[in-house]
């Protein structure tokens, strides 16, 4: 099978699905042209992520990665959430196919983008948050990643 049971579980029964109207931070990454957009909403109270929701346009692994990422940061401090890596998301999902690793990268970046939005709104520094927003073009990080996918084919 293409996906692990964990991926299928999070795809078929996504955790934290939805939106938060009065979110303290919202992050959207990806690009419809590339077929993946993730949007993460955070409620933050006293530096703790008290609630998190997501919406995703994308494939099964994109939905599963967003679900897993939200589960991994819920109840954590902002700095803990910032340290979430795509590798940790992938491992928690019992792995992703090589051509789907970029979905976990998007999940990591969506969390960072939402936290950056929260900090900006509150006049807090964002210089420790990577600026890459996971778009398909105009960003060397993702660009390198795409070549990597081509090489694997």
């Amino acid at each position: 099978m293409l996906y692990s049971d964990k991926v299928m579980d999070h795809f078929l029964n996504p955790r934290n699905l939805g939106t938060i109207e009065d979110a303290d931070g919202v992050g959207e990454v990806g690009n419809a042209k590339c077929g993946d957009i993730m949007k993460i909403y955070l409620k933050i109270d006293n530096d703790i992520i008290t609630d998190v929701k997501f919406n995703t346009f994308g494939c099964g692994s994109a939905i599963a990665s967003s679900s897993m990422a939200t589960e991994m940061i819920k109840g954590k401090s902002v700095s803990e959430a910032l340290s979430l890596t795509n590798k940790a998301v992938t491992e928690a999902l019992d792995g992703l196919p090589p051509q789907k690793i970029h979905c976990s990268v998007l999940a990591e970046e969506a969390v960072q983008a939402a936290i950056a939005d929260y900090r900006t709104r509150n006049g807090l520094p964002v210089d420790d948050i990577p600026s890459c927003n996971g778009c398909c073009s105009g960003c060397s990080h993702e660009h390198d990643h795409h070549h990597h996918i081509d090489d694997e084919e």
Binding site: K33, C34, G35, F57, G58, C59, G60, C136, E153
Partner: protein, 397 residues
């Protein structure tokens, strides 16, 4: 779970008749058709009979049929043979379309690296090549025109007879990849002025791993595989007799029942198209009229095709998609892009392809399943949310 198989353009289930004749040849006619002993000669007779059957369906001579491992090999051999002829005549221009199968496109890319020039004709929003544009593209150094008979993703049927006429008039070789057409549409290489034609057995309820190339006599066919003198020195290797006999049987059955099957299958297709068209912001891809009897292909705005396929699979519906995530690359299908769909819409594609074993009741189940899954995926899609809130403009009205 009751599964509904609606992916017959990918491959078909073998017919009982094809399976039976294949087993019979495996058990009873296993000798090598090249052997001199009686069992060998009986195998040679079966081979000749199969060749005769396929030739008479295509309206050509048996010697003009070369058995291959499938459609891809036939496409490769036809195009590379034309290139060798072109090289000798100093004609290194080929005309094709933007939405051919990769067996054709990748062979053409290889030839471009070897100094050939290829014109890829536009197929417009309806997915049909225009004959006047094709004729205008013909140059003194054009050696080959290769245009598929019917497209594998959107099912559009090309004006093959008119293209054949133009090619004959300008003395250009004409190859057609008829993999999706054979067994589904009436083929006549004489009436259509076709010089080379590729077909594949597993698209018409025959076995996988076998196909044929028709090549008009007089066209020098180059070998892809060197070895013995099988197939009149044009394709080495002991003939895959069980598969060849089964292919001939499957094609004969398909042609014998074509009218009846097409009437039935296109009624199922139309039911499906009508039902799915009522999903808002969806569009049928490819021409409504000139399309294969079994092909319903759609795009749904605001969702991604792989997620759609996986959720349909959970409901027992087997289809396919041209989204990037199903292709292993980041771009959606070149076919959907060739008909002018933007990337974000092409990602939300679904192809359902039917056969005579499908039923009207199954169409009802599919329509309900697709409607539900599209609605769910839209409910969790930030793209759809933006469209609904007017932050973005719908591409599909």
């Amino acid at each position: 779970m009751n599964r509904i198989y609606a992916d017959n353009a990918a491959t078909t289930k073998m017919s009982r008749h094809a399976t039976e004749v294949m087993l019979d040849v495996m058990e009873n006619t296993y000798a090598n058709p090249s052997s001199l002993h009686t069992p060998g000669q009986l195998a040679a007779v079966k081979l000749a009979e199969s060749r005769q059957k396929i030739a008479s369906i295509l309206n050509c001579e048996p010697r003009e049929i070369i058995f291959t491992s499938g459609g891809s090999e036939a496409d490769n051999q036809a195009i590379l043979s034309a290139a060798v002829i072109g090289e000798k005549k100093k004609k290194k221009h080929i005309i094709s379309t933007k939405f051919e199968h990769h067996a054709v496109l990748h062979t053409l890319k290889k030839l471009e690296k070897q100094g050939f020039e290829v014109t890829y004709l536009d197929v417009h929003s309806n997915g049909i090549v225009r004959v006047e544009e094709l004729e205008a593209a013909i140059r003194p150094d054009t050696i080959l025109v290769t245009v598929m008979y019917a497209n594998n993703e959107i099912g559009t049927i090309q004006p093959i007879r008119a293209i054949g006429e133009v090619c004959r008039k300008h003395e250009v070789l004409f190859h057609t990849d008829a993999v999706q057409a054979a067994g589904h549409l009436p083929l006549d290489v004489q009436a259509d002025n076709i010089d080379m034609l590729s077909l594949s057995a597993h698209k018409f309820h025959g076995p996988k791993g076998v196909g044929a190339l028709y090549a008009r006599k007089g066209i020098a066919i180059s070998t892809l595989i060197e070895g013995g003198a099988q197939e009149r020195n044009r394709r080495a290797g002991t003939e895959n007799l069980p598969a060849i006999v089964a292919m001939a049987a499957a094609l004969e059955d398909a042609v014998a029942n074509m009218e009846e099957n097409n009437k039935y299958v296109s009624s199922l297709r139309d039911k499906l198209i009508n039902g799915l068209s009522s999903i808002p912001h969806s569009t049928l891809t490819g021409d409504r009229e000139n399309r294969l009897p079994g092909c319903a292909s759609f795009c749904f705005e605001g969702i991604e095709g792989e997620a759609l396929l996986l959720l349909l699979d959970q409901k027992g519906v087997c289809g396919s998609s041209g989204s990037a995530c199903t292709s292993g690359s980041l771009d959606p299908s070149h076919v959907l892009l060739s008909i002018g769909l933007p990337h974000e819409v092409a990602h939300g594609s679904l192809r359902l392809t039917l056969c005579p074993e499908n039923t009207p009741e199954e169409m009802d189940v599919i329509i309900q399943a697709v409607t539900d899954v599209v609605a769910y995926l839209r409910s969790i899609s930030p793209v759809w949310n933006d469209l609904q809130k007017g932050k973005k403009e719908y591409v599909i009205q």
